[in-house]
C-alpha cells in the first residue's frame, strides 16, 4: 500500500449550458481512480461553479499509480432523468512519482468530451504521497524517469548507457467488442481512451522494471506506438534506451562527480576489489525468483519480466551490499539465436533495488560525499595495451570466439597500477557485453561528443505479416516473436557492417486490413566503450589512450568494416580531414549530425517519394504481393535519394527515415532525410545523363537535360553555400577497384514465413552517377527529380535536431501540425501519374508552410516529420509536424567556424564532463588539426574544446565560475518557488474574497478589470519537436506527456466539414497538452511528436472520427541570457495565472 493519491476539485469555468430552460448548468464532479469514486456537491445554476471540495484520498498500490490515470468527470445534475456528462479529464499522475519531477499537479484542465470537444475548464489539484517500498519483488517501477528526447537530457549527465529496452502489451480493441454494438459512440470512445491510457501506463511500468533490473534509473528516447489492428486487437509497444542519469544540480561542480548516484558511485571500488571482479564469473542459468538472502551475485527473477524476450533479463542483478561488484551472468539460450554462448555481462550495481533513493526528496544527495577527484583515479597510463585493443575492436565485431579469447587476453596483458588490469578487463568486458547484449540498440539519435566512434550506415528490415486474433493477451508471443525476428535481422546487418551497435534505432508499422508491415531501422555504429560501463567518466582520460586518436570531427565517418572484406561494394578514399583512415564516398544515417562534425555550407531536406499500385487481394496472396513489391520500392526510394543528394552536391544524409505505408490498392513510400556536405568525405561527382537509344530522344534533348541538371547543381551549391575547402589531391588514397554505386541500405523482406532474402541495392556494373534514359519513364523520373523546388529565400529546412550550418537561433519558435488528405479521382492511374500526384502533394505542403511562415524569415523548418497513410482506397493522407525557428542571418556567414553547434554550446555547460574530458584527451593530439580545419583557433566564445590547452587551470576556472552561477541560480529558484506559493495562497484568498462580494459592487469589478490585459493570464507553453528551445536552458524535466484522444462527430457539416472538424480537434489536442504541462508547473514541451493521427470519415452519414496520440517531455526552461529575471517571471507567470484563475 505504498501510495496515497489526493485530489481536490477547486472550480470550473466556461461550462456549457446544459439546461436550456435556465441557460445554466447544475454541475458536479466525479473523481475516480481505480475502482474508487468520489463525488463533489452539486453547484447549482452556474457556468462558473466553485466547488472547493475536500481532499479526496485514494490509498493505492504504486503499481496502480503507474498504470491508472486519475479520471475526472464533470456532470450536469438532473433531478428526474439521468445525469448528463459534460466531459472528462484524464490526468496521468506518473510525473508525481519521481522526486525530481513535479511535486503537484495544479491548474486548469480543459474538460473534454469525445463528441463535443472541449467544453469548459476545471481547476484541479493533485498530490501523491509515496511511501517507501522495500519489497524487492514488487511490480512497480516508480522512480524511473522517462524521456522522449533522443539525446541525453539537458540538465542530466549520463554516467552509464545500459542499452535497449522494449516491451509490448496487447488487448482487445473495445471498438471491436460485441458490446460496441449496443453502447453509444461516446461510451465506446471513452472505453478506448481509458484502455489505451491504462495500457501505456502498464507498458511504462514494465519498461521501468526492466530498467531497474539493468541497474539504470531512466529511459531516454522513449518511443511508444499503437498498432490498431482492428479485429485482431490493440497493441501498445515501446522501445527506449536505459541509462543511468545524474542530475546536474546547482551544487555540484561539473568536473567532479559530487552528485553521483549512489548506484554508480562505487565504480572505482569495483576496480579496487579484485576478489569480486570478473575473474571468477558465476554463471547462473535462469534461476527462479530468488528470495534468499542477498548475495553478491544473483540472477534476475525471470518471472518478473513476463514477455519471453527481454534483452535486459540476463544481465540484471540485485545486491544488498553497498559494495559494488560485477555481475557476470551468462546469456540464456534464446529460441532464435543459433549460438549459445557464455557471455560476460557487466552491469552497474544497485545497492538495494528499491526506489527509496529516487522517490524520497533529498536522498539524491546521499552520494555527494563520495565525490572523487577524477584526476586522482585517472592517472594510470595503460599505453601498453593500446595496440591490442585497437585490434580487438576491429576483430570483435566479426568473430565472437576471438572476442572471448581477447577478453581473457586483456586481463592477462595488462600492466601499470593496481587498477590497471581490472580496468582493461572492464573495458573488454563491456565490449563483450555490448556485443552479446541481445540487442545492442540505442534509440538515441545524438550523443555526447566522443560517444560515437564510427558509423557504418543505415540498416533496416521489413517484414510483412498477416494479423490474426491475439488469443491470449497476457502472452503476446506472436507479436514479440515478430519483432524479435526483425531485431535479429537488424543486428546481423549491423554485424555485417562491422559494427557492434545500432544507434538511432526506431520501429514502426503500417496496417491495412489484416496485412501489417513491420519496419525497423537504425544506423550501424561502433561506440566508445567508455560509456558502457560505470565510472567511465572518471577514467576517461586514460581510457582514451586505448583508442586510436581519431579526430572528433571526422572520426565517425571512418569506415568500421574491414577494407578487404567489405560487406558491399564501396568506393573508399582516405579521409579528407586526417588522411589516415578510409571513408566512404557517401554516408547515410538515421541519427542526427554529430555536433562535432565538420560540414560545409548548410543542410537541406531531401525527400524521395514513391507510389506503387497493387492489385487488391486478400490474405496470403495480398501479403505476398506486398512483400514482392517492397524491394523494388526500397530500391527506387534509394535511387531517388541518391540522385537528389548528388543534385544538391552533398555527400551525406542524416536523420534518414523511410516510411512505407500500405493501402488496399497501393503502397506509398516516403523517405526523408537531411542532406549535408561532410568535409571529411569526398566531394560528390555530378550526374551524367547517358542517352541509350530511342530514336525519339535526340542527343540535343539529352544534352539539354544534362545542362539543366548541371545548372541545378550549380544553383544548389550557391544556395546551400557549399564551398568545401580545397584540398590537395596527393594524399587521397587510391579508390578501391570496381567503383560502383554503393548502397548502405541493408534491407530485407520476409513474408509470414521466416524466409529472408537480401538484396544488393547497388546498380550492378553501372557507374554511380550515370542516369540512363532508355524510355519515357526515365525521362519522367528525371523531370520529377528536377521538380523539387528549393525553399524560397530566407528559408531552410531539415528533418533533424540540428540544422547543419545554422546555430545562432533567435527566440522565434512556431511548432505546427498540418494534415492534408487527397482524394484520387477514379481514373485509371499509372504508377507515374500517382508518383506525380504524391510528389506534388508533398511539395505543395512545403510551399504552404513557407508561405504561412513568411513573417518569420529568416527561418528554418526543423524536424520536418512527414507521415503518410492510405486511410481509404482512394485517399492519401500526409501529416506533418515541424517547428519553424528564426535565426540571426548576420552571424551565419561565419558560422562553420564555431563548431559547437547550438546544442553543443547549450549543453557544454551541463555536460561539461564530456567536452572537458575530450579536450584533455585530444588537446595535445588534435587541437592543431581541429583548428586548421574548422578555423576555430582560439576563437570566439569560450568553446572549451577548442580553447583550453591548459586543462587543469581551465577546468578549475570553469568549475568555480559554473559553481557560482549554479549556486546563484539555485537559490533564486528556491526563493522564487517560495514566493510563488505565497502569492498563490494570496491569490486564493483574493478569489474567495471576491466570490463573496456580489458582482455589482463596483470595487471588485474594477479590481478584476484592472488586470484585464496586463499579461496573458494563461501560462504560455511553447512546444517543439526538438530537444531544446533556442535561447533557453532547460532547468527541470517534469515528466513525460503521453496522451491519446478520440474525437467523433455526427454533425460533420455543422462543424465545418472535415477540415473544420480536424482543425478544431488538433487545436484542442494542443490545448490539452499545454494545460497539462502548465499544471505540472512547466512552460514548454520538448521532443513533442504526434505519433498517430488516424482520420476516418463518412460524409454520407455526416460522420467522422479521429484518433490522435501525442507525446513529449514537459520541462521548465529559462532564458539563457538573464537567468534571474526569467526564472522569476516564469514563476510570476504561473502565479499570475492562478491569480486570475481564482478571480474568475
Amino acid at each position: 500500500m505504498p501510495g496515497k493519491l489526493k485530489a481536490k476539485i477547486v472550480a470550473g469555468r466556461h461550462l456549457p449550458v446544459m439546461d436550456r430552460a435556465s441557460d445554466l448548468t447544475d454541475a458536479f464532479v466525479e473523481v475516480k481512480f481505480g475502482n474508487t469514486t468520489f463525488k463533489t456537491d452539486v453547484c447549482p445554476k452556474s457556468l462558473n461553479p466553485q466547488w472547493n471540495s475536500e481532499w479526496f484520498k485514494f490509498e493505492v498500490d504504486d503499481e496502480d499509480l503507474q498504470d491508472e490515470p486519475l479520471q475526472i468527470t464533470v456532470l450536469d445534475h438532473d433531478t428526474y432523468s439521468a445525469n448528463d456528462a459534460i466531459g472528462k479529464v484524464y490526468i496521468d499522475i506518473d510525473p508525481l512519482l519521481y522526486s525530481e519531477a513535479a511535486s503537484v499537479i495544479s491548474g486548469w484542465f480543459p474538460i473534454y468530451d469525445t463528441i463535443h470537444g472541449i467544453r469548459g475548464e476545471i481547476n484541479v489539484i493533485v498530490k501523491v504521497e509515496l511511501f517507501n517500498d522495500l519489497n524487492r519483488f514488487r511490480q512497480s517501477s516508480c522512480g524511473v524517469k522517462f524521456f522522449c528526447t533522443t539525446c541525453i537530457p539537458q540538465c542530466y549527465r549520463a554516467t552509464l548507457v545500459h542499452g535497449f529496452v522494449e516491451e509490448l502489451v496487447v488487448n482487445e480493441d473495445p471498438e471491436y467488442q460485441w458490446i460496441d454494438r449496443i453502447r453509444t459512440p461516446r461510451a465506446s470512445n471513452e472505453a478506448r481512451q481509458r484502455l489505451i491510457s491504462l495500457m501505456s501506463g502498464e507498458l511504462q511500468r514494465k519498461i521501468g522494471l526492466k530498467v531497474l533490473e539493468m541497474g539504470g534509473n531512466a529511459v531516454v528516447g522513449y518511443l511508444q506506438c499503437f498498432d490498431l489492428e482492428g479485429e485482431s486487437g490493440l497493441v501498445v509497444r515501446a522501445i527506449g534506451t536505459a541509462c543511468t542519469l545524474d542530475k546536474l544540480s546547482s551544487g555540484s561542480a561539473p568536473n567532479t562527480n559530487t552528485h553521483m548516484h549512489p548506484n554508480t558511485a562505487p565504480a572505482s571500488n569495483a576496480c579496487n576489489s579484485p576478489s569480486k571482479d570478473g575473474k571468477e564469473p558465476v554463471f547462473v542459468e535462469d534461476l527462479p525468483s530468488s528470495s534468499g538472502p542477498p548475495t553478491p551475485f544473483r540472477a534476475l527473477p525471470t518471472s518478473s519480466s513476463p514477455p519471453p524476450f527481454s534483452p535486459s533479463k540476463p544481465c540484471s542483478r540485485q545486491s544488498s551490499s553497498s559494495d559494488t561488484d560485477l555481475s557476470l551472468t551468462p546469456k540464456t539460450e534464446e529460441p532464435h539465436s543459433v549460438r549459445c554462448r557464455p557471455g560476460i555481462f557487466l552491469c552497474p550495481s544497485s545497492p538495494i533495488l528499491s526506489t527509496d533513493t529516487l522517490s524520497l526528496p533529498g536522498s539524491g544527495s546521499v552520494g555527494c560525499g563520495r565525490g572523487s577527484n577524477p584526476r586522482a583515479t585517472t592517472s594510470a597510463p595503460l599505453s601498453s595495451i593500446q595496440s591490442d585493443s585497437a585490434l580487438l575492436r576491429k576483430s570483435v565485431s566479426f568473430t565472437e570466439d576471438l572476442l572471448l579469447a581477447a577478453s581473457g587476453m586483456g586481463s592477462g596483458g595488462s600492466a601499470g597500477k593496481e587498477a590497471g588490469p581490472l580496468r582493461t578487463l572492464l573495458r573488454q568486458q563491456t565490449q563483450t557485453a555490448l556485443e552479446q547484449r541481445e540487442f545492442p540498440f540505442f534509440t538515441l539519435t545524438s550523443f555526447p561528443p566522443g560517444f560515437l566512434l564510427h558509423v557504418g550506415g543505415v540498416v533496416s528490415a521489413r517484414s510483412v505479416k498477416l494479423l490474426d486474433r491475439i488469443h491470449n493477451p497476457d502472452e503476446p508471443e506472436t507479436r514479440d516473436a515478430w519483432w524479435e525476428e526483425i531485431r535479429q535481422e537488424i543486428k546481423s546487418h549491423a554485424r555485417a557492417l562491422g559494427c557492434h551497435a545500432v544507434v538511432g534505432y526506431s520501429e514502426s508499422t503500417s496496417i491495412c486490413e489484416e496485412v501489417c508491415i513491420l519496419s525497423a531501422s537504425g544506423t550501424a555504429a561502433i561506440l566508445n566503450p567508455r560509456y558502457m560501463r560505470e565510472g567511465c567518466l572518471d577514467i576517461g582520460c586514460t581510457d582514451h589512450r586505448f583508442e586510436e586518436p581519431s579526430p572528433p570531427n571526422c572520426g565517425f565517418c571512418h569506415i568500421p568494416y574491414d577494407e578487404l572484406n567489405m560487406p558491399f561494394p564501396a568506393q573508399l578514399t582516405y579521409c579528407y580531414h586526417c588522411r589516415r583512415q578510409k571513408v566512404p564516398d557517401v554516408l547515410f544515417t538515421t541519427i542526427d549530425l554529430p555536433s562535432e562534425a565538420a560540414v560545409a555550407g548548410k543542410g537541406c531536406l531531401i525527400q524521395a517519394r514513391l507510389c506503387r499500385l497493387k492489385k487488391k487481394a486478400q490474405g496470403e496472396a495480398n501479403a505476398t504481393a506486398i512483400s514482392n513489391l517492397l524491394p523494388f520500392m526500397e530500391y527506387e526510394l534509394h535511387t531517388q535519394l541518391m540522385n537528389k543528394l548528388k543534385l544538391r552536391s552533398m555527400n551525406a544524409l542524416f536523420g534518414l527515415h523511410i516510411q512505407i505505408s500500405v493501402g488496399e490498392n497501393m503502397l506509398l513510400g516516403l523517405a526523408s532525410a537531411t542532406g549535408v556536405y561532410l568535409t571529411a568525405l569526398p566531394a560528390p561527382g555530378g550526374i551524367q545523363i547517358a542517352g541509350k537509344t530511342p530514336g525519339d530522344l535526340s542527343s540535343e534533348h539529352i544534352s539539354s537535360i544534362q545542362k539543366r541538371i548541371n545548372d541545378t547543381i550549380a544553383v544548389n551549391k550557391e544556395l546551400y553555400q557549399i564551398n568545401p575547402p580545397e584540398l590537395a589531391e596527393e594524399g587521397v588514397g587510391s579508390p578501391i577497384p570496381e567503383p560502383r554505386h554503393r548502397s548502405r541500405l541493408f534491407r530485407s523482406h520476409s513474408e509470414s514465413s521466416d524466409e529472408l532474402s537480401e538484396l544488393d541495392l547497388s546498380h550492378g556494373k553501372k557507374d554511380a552517377f550515370v542516369l540512363e534514359i532508355d524510355d519515357t519513364d526515365a525521362v519522367e523520373d528525371i523531370h520529377s527529380l528536377l521538380i523539387d523546388a528549393p525553399p524560397p529565400t530566407g528559408f531552410y529546412s531539415c528533418n533533424t535536431e540540428n540544422m547543419p550550418g545554422i546555430s545562432n537561433w533567435t527566440s522565434g519558435v512556431q511548432m505546427f501540425t498540418s494534415v492534408r488528405v487527397l482524394r484520387l479521382s477514379n481514373a485509371n492511374l499509372t504508377n507515374q501519374g500517382l508518383n506525380k500526384i504524391f510528389t506534388d502533394l508533398c511539395e505543395n505542403l512545403l510551399k504552404s508552410f513557407y508561405f504561412k511562415l513568411r513573417s518569420m524569415i529568416p527561418c528554418c523548418l526543423c524536424h520536418l516529420n512527414f507521415t503518410v497513410a492510405v486511410p481509404e482506397e482512394e485517399l492519401i493522407q500526409v501529416t506533418v509536424t515541424a517547428v519553424a525557428m528564426t535565426y540571426d542571418k548576420e552571424q551565419t556567414q561565419e558560422k562553420t567556424a564555431e563548431k559547437p553547434v547550438n546544442k553543443g554550446s547549450l549543453e557544454a555547460e551541463e555536460q561539461l564532463q564530456f567536452p572537458l574530458e575530450l579536450c584533455a584527451d585530444s588537446s595535445s593530439s588534435n587541437i592543431q588539426t581541429a583548428s586548421k580545419i574548422s578555423g576555430v583557433g582560439e576563437s570566439t566564445n569560450m568553446s572549451p574544446r577548442a580553447a583550453s590547452v591548459d586543462y587543469g587551470s581551465f577546468a578549475d576556472r570553469c568549475s568555480t565560475w559554473l559553481e557560482l552561477l549554479r549556486l546563484k541560480a539555485h537559490t533564486i529558484r528556491r526563493g522564487s518557488v517560495k514566493t510563488s506559493r505565497r502569492t498563490q495562497s494570496l491569490a486564493h484568498s483574493v478569489s474567495s474574497l471576491e466570490r463573496c462580494s456580489p458582482l455589482q459592487e463596483g470595487r471588485s469589478r474594477s479590481l478584476r478589470s484592472s488586470r484585464s490585459f496586463g499579461g496573458s493570464s494563461v501560462t504560455v507553453v511553447k512546444m517543439t519537436p526538438l530537444s531544446f528551445l533556442p535561447g533557453t536552458r532547460i532547468i527541470k524535466y517534469l515528466g513525460i506527456i503521453n496522451m491519446f484522444f478520440i474525437r467523433e462527430t455526427t454533425s460533420l457539416r455543422e462543424e465545418g466539414g472535415v477540415s473544420g472538424f480536424l482543425h478544431s480537434f488538433i487545436a484542442e489536442v494542443f490545448a490539452m497538452v499545454r494545460a497539462h504541462v502548465a499544471a505540472l508547473g512547466g512552460n514548454a514541451v520538448v521532443s513533442y511528436s504526434m505519433k498517430e493521427c488516424v482520420f476516418m470519415e463518412n460524409p454520407n452519414k455526416n460522420q467522422a472520427q479521429c484518433l490522435i496520440n501525442v507525446s513529449g517531455d514537459a520541462v521548465i526552461c529559462i532564458s539563457e541570457t538573464d537567468q534571474e529575471s526569467s526564472a522569476s517571471t516564469a514563476n510570476t507567470g504561473q502565479t499570475g495565472g492562478s491569480e486570475t484563475d481564482g478571480a474568475t
Partner: protein, 332 residues
C-alpha cells in the same frame, strides 16, 4: 483528384492581419483570395493560387472558431484553446469591434431590435458595406447594449472593462448605446450632414455632463430636478433676452430646448431642435464659427451679470454642453 482535407494548426495561432480584415469585411474565401492576389502577396515566397487559397481557408476557419470567444472578449484572455500573444488578442478584439462610420450613422438612434436587423440589407446596399459585416457590427452594438444595460457605473468604463476595448472605441460604443437607448432622432434630412463622429462627440458631452452625476448612463435619469428649474427661468430671463435684442430668437430657441429636456419624448428631438432653432438661423445669417463662439460665450457669461438670476450652476451646466455641441455641429 481533389484536396479532401487541408488544415494547418500552429501552437501559437497564426493570424494574418490582412486576412482578418478581409474576413471582418465579409469577403468570401474566393473574393479574399482575389484581393490578396491583387495585393501582391504572391510575390512573397513564390506562392501559387492554391497555396493562397489553402492559407485563406485555414485563417477563415481559425477566425470562425475564435468568433465565439470574441463575443465575450474577457474569455479570450483565459481560454485555453488558442495560444494567442496578448498584443494579438488586443488587435483581434479591437478590430472585431471596430465599425464603419457610414454604417453606424444609419442605425444611430434606432432601436437595436430584430426589425432593424431585417433592414440591414437595405443599409448594406446604401452604404456598400457587406451584409455580413453589417450583421457583425449590428450584433456587436446589440451585445454591448445588452451587457451594459444592466450595469451600474460609468458607461464608458463599463464598456471598456467588459469588452477590453481601447478608450476611443469604448467612447464610441458608449455613444451608440446612449443614442440607441434614448432613441435620439438622427435620420431627418436636416441632420444628414452630421457625421457619426459629430454625434459621438455630442453624446460624450451629454453623457458626462447631463447624466446623473455622470455616474448613470441613461437620460431618463438625466438630472430632471435641475432641468425642472429651467422653465422658471423663462420669466426672469426675458429682461436679459431683451438686453441682447437682436439675438432674441436664437435665445428663445435655446431656452425652449432647455425647457423641453424635461420631457422624455421631446428629448429625442434635441439634435433636430438645435439645428432648426439655432444652427440654421445662424447659418442663414452667414455667421462664422468664430462669431458663433463669441456669441455663445458672451451669452453664457451675461447670465452671471443678472443679479436676479438664481440658477447659475444649472445654467452653466446646460450651456456648457449646448455650446460644445453647437460648435461641433456647426459645419457644412
Amino acid at each position: 483528384m481533389s484536396v479532401e482535407l487541408d488544415v494547418f494548426v500552429g501552437n501559437t495561432t497564426i493570424m494574418d492581419e490582412e486576412v482578418y480584415q478581409l474576413w471582418l469585411d465579409g469577403y468570401t474565401v474566393n473574393d479574399a483570395v482575389k484581393v490578396r492576389m491583387e495585393g501582391g502577396v504572391m510575390d512573397e515566397c513564390e506562392a501559387s493560387k492554391d497555396v493562397l487559397l489553402s492559407d485563406t481557408m485555414d485563417q477563415y476557419r481559425t477566425f470562425q472558431m475564435c468568433e465565439r470567444l470574441l463575443h465575450s472578449p474577457a474569455k479570450l484572455a483565459n481560454q485555453l484553446l488558442f495560444q494567442i500573444p496578448p498584443h494579438r488578442q488586443i488587435m483581434l478584439i479591437e478590430r472585431y469591434y471596430a465599425f464603419d462610420d457610414t454604417f453606424v450613422r444609419e442605425v444611430l438612434g434606432k432601436k437595436l431590435s430584430k426589425g432593424t436587423k431585417k433592414d440591414l440589407d437595405d443599409i448594406s446596399a446604401k452604404t456598400s458595406v457587406t451584409l455580413k459585416s453589417c450583421r457583425r457590427q449590428f450584433d456587436n452594438f446589440k451585445r454591448v447594449f445588452k451587457v451594459v444595460e444592466e450595469l451600474k457605473g460609468p458607461l464608458v468604463e463599463n464598456i471598456r472593462q467588459h469588452f477590453l476595448l481601447s478608450d476611443k472605441l469604448a467612447r464610441d460604443y458608449a455613444a451608440i448605446v446612449f443614442f440607441a437607448n434614448n432613441r435620439f432622432e438622427t435620420g431627418k434630412r436636416k441632420l444628414q450632414y452630421l457625421s457619426f463622429q459629430d454625434f459621438a462627440f455630442c453624446a460624450g458631452q451629454l453623457i458626462s455632463n447631463w447624466t446623473v452625476g455622470a455616474v448613470d448612463n441613461m437620460v431618463e435619469d438625466m438630472d430632471e430636478h435641475a432641468f425642472q428649474t429651467l422653465p422658471s427661468l423663462r420669466g426672469k430671463t426675458k429682461v436679459f433676452i431683451e438686453m441682447e435684442g437682436s439675438f432674441k430668437n436664437l435665445s428663445r430657441g435655446l431656452i425652449n430646448i432647455a425647457a423641453k429636456l424635461t420631457n422624455t419624448k421631446d428629448v429625442r428631438d434635441f439634435f433636430i431642435d438645435l439645428v432648426e432653432k439655432f444652427i440654421e438661423p445662424c447659418r442663414s445669417d452667414r455667421w462664422s464659427a468664430a462669431d458663433m463662439k463669441l456669441y455663445l460665450t458672451h451669452y453664457t457669461n451675461s447670465a452671471h451679470i443678472l443679479d436676479t438670476f438664481k440658477h447659475q450652476v444649472v445654467w452653466d451646466r446646460y450651456m456648457g454642453v449646448v455650446k460644445s455641441c453647437i460648435f461641433k455641429m456647426y459645419h457644412d
